[in-house]
């Protein structure tokens, strides 16, 4: 029994016989691997921003159960009440970090609009028929001089912290917004933001009292699209910020330098004991490894993707690794190179020295595979999600509406795809499932983009352990 099922269906005895915890999630990462059933549903952000379809963005419920009659179909869409949100990342109200918190359930999705700064609270107690329960309007967010919500993590005990990339004007600095268990805004999470200006993703590792956040840019800089002039002006990020988790204070800045430009997704290993983690520097196309040695945090380049010459481009094309994730067993790091068109798998059993295990070349500007059946693979591999058992990797192809329109303009007409690969973790291999394709180009209102993916029962990019 896992909390992939509706939480109300779950008796407390289901957990107690194994690990004596009473809250949501799993006692340990290994317990998640053992206890989670294979995923049957996926929640995927679907969006119309930056297309000529005037319709609100939606949460897609995708059937990923191979035994189902509606396998690979979007079986439900929860439309947002307004247009223009740009749904992007989202998260649960509670995860394994609250597994000892009695009474909490993994019941609600917190779904922010990246452009609108509107925050939707969706009751997903019925896993197939989620319903919008509450909407926090942008004006309520702007009151805290914050905008552009991005990463949603629940924190132990039921509160929710959202990284906010801008101030109320879409300028710098950003910060963090805290919601209570009742989904009301409590205020700013941080007590002291030190020299932090830019924000993007964050991950916390409570046993080590640390949070690490990364940097994209001011919303006014990245919202309209990517302008190299902004990079030259220093308007894009290249730093990590180390925070005291308990005191909510900025402690240290790790400057990744020119090779660390636009550090996006931050992933600690899942073991609560671990002080190892990675961040993908998208523009520089390097993966940085960070760790704590002797009480000091440091970061160093661990994987370097070379730019490639393309006959139609004046300058070598950067790989643009826009998403990374760590398998629940902490054995593999996966990533996506959006412009090159590659999904990769690295062995991280020696965390400071990732070793390439396998990769798939598809989509993007260099992918060997550019279509499945008669469907062109618009865009490149982008947001990743891995099954808890580490045997199935899924991804979507949209990055951000304005950036999609700049690099893969055909996506606004054809929509995104969601694809899958099968993994053999024992042998370190990644194989494209050529029979799997969820086509977001086929939505009733018109072709849609697809972004982040989550499972009903927790996943490799959000669950944290204390």
């Amino acid at each position: 029994m896992s909390d992939a099922e509706s939480p109300t269906d779950m008796s407390s005895a289901d957990h107690e016989d194994h690990d004596h915890h009473v809250g949501p999630g799993y006692a340990t990462p290994q317990a998640a691997i053992e206890q989670a059933e294979p995923e049957k549903l996926a929640y995927v952000m679907g969006l119309y921003v930056g297309t000529d379809v005037d319709a609100p963005d939606f949460v897609a419920v995708v059937d990923v159960d191979p035994g189902s009659d509606t396998y690979q179909e979007v079986i439900n869409r929860i439309a947002m009440p307004n247009e223009g949100d740009e749904l992007h990342h989202f998260g649960w109200n509670a995860c394994s970090s609250s597994c000892h918190a009695e009474g909490l359930e993994r019941s609600h999705l917190v779904v922010p609009g990246q452009r609108s700064s509107r925050i939707h609270i969706i009751d997903a107690t019925d896993r197939r028929e989620p319903e919008i329960e509450k909407v926090i309007e942008p004006e309520r967010v702007f009151e805290h001089d914050l905008s552009a919500p991005h990463t949603v993590h629940c924190v132990p005990g039921g509160n929710i912290v959202i990284s906010m990339l801008g101030d109320a004007d879409g300028d710098l600095p950003g910060g963090f917004l805290e919601l209570g268990e009742d989904f009301e805004i409590k205020g700013r999470w941080e007590a002291d933001s030190g020299e932090m200006q830019m924000n993007y993703d964050y991950w916390y590792q409570p046993r080590h009292n640390v949070m690490i956040s990364s940097e994209w840019a001011a919303p006014k800089t990245y919202y309209p699209g990517f302008d190299l002039e902004d990079v030259e002006n220093g308007d894009y990020g290249q730093r990590l910020h180390v925070w005291d988790w308990e005191n909510r204070s900025h402690e240290e800045t790790l400057d990744l330098g020119e090779e660390g430009q636009i550090p996006l997704e931050v992933r600690f290993l899942h073991s609560p004991e671990s002080t190892h983690g990675y961040v993908g520097a998208a523009l520089s196309s390097n993966i940085f490894y960070f760790s704590n040695e002797g009480g000091n945090w440091h970061a160093e380049k661990a994987i370097d993707f070379e730019a490639e010459e393309h006959p139609d481009w004046d300058m070598p094309v950067p790989a643009l690794p826009t998403d990374i994730l760590v398998s629940m067993d902490d054995r593999y790091l996966y990533g996506s190179n959006w412009l090159h068109g590659e999904v990769w798998m690295y062995d991280i059993s020696d965390p400071a020295n990732p070793r390439k295990a396998d990769s798939i070349s598809l989509g993007g500007f260099f992918g060997e595979c550019q279509s499945l059946g008669d469907r062109e693979l618009t865009g490149g591999p982008q947001m990743l999600q891995l099954s808890l058992d580490g045997e199935r990797l899924y991804w979507t192809s949209s990055l951000f509406s304005s950036w999609d329109n700049q690099f893969f303009p055909e996506m606004s007409e054809e929509g995104s795809v969601m694809l899958k690969a099968d993994i053999d973790p024992r042998n370190g291999t990644l194989t494209l499932d050529e029979d799997f394709l969820v086509d977001f180009g086929e939505m009733p209102e018109g072709p849609a983009r697809a972004h982040e993916i989550r499972w009903p029962g927790g996943d490799c990019t959000s669950d944290v352990w204390r």
Binding site: G170, P224, N405
Partner: protein, 104 residues
């Protein structure tokens, strides 16, 4: 009093009345004419239009637009009020003109 603002999107033209203290986006919503938009604060550029004739004035700083965009006649309809009868093109293709693929 109102000005008339002609909005051209994908070749389709609609003329709507816009009061001088009203944004073009709000006026379009009043008459059920869809325009693309995102942040509604002038930061994101989703509502960018290009002024072909007339005059519009931003009611708050148009942060999504650089000086080169303002000089070329781009305008953010979520924060733009009319100062004369105007003609504006709008839509995702107008937004896409703000940036190009820098490597290509």
């Amino acid at each position: 009093m109102s000005y008339t603002v002609e909005l051209i999107r994908n070749g389709i033209s609609n003329t709507i009345p816009v009061r001088p203290e009203q944004t073009v986006l709000a006026a379009a919503e009043d008459v059920d004419r869809s325009l693309p938009f995102g942040c509604r604060t002038g930061a994101c550029g989703t509502c960018t239009g290009r002024v072909l004739a007339g005059e519009l004035e931003h009611r708050r700083p148009p942060r999504a637009l650089k000086t080169k965009h303002l000089d070329a006649g781009y305008v953010l309809l979520c924060i733009a009020e009319p100062r004369a009868d105007s003609r504006v093109t709008v839509g995702k293709d107008v937004v896409a003109e703000l940036v190009e693929n820098p490597w290509k």
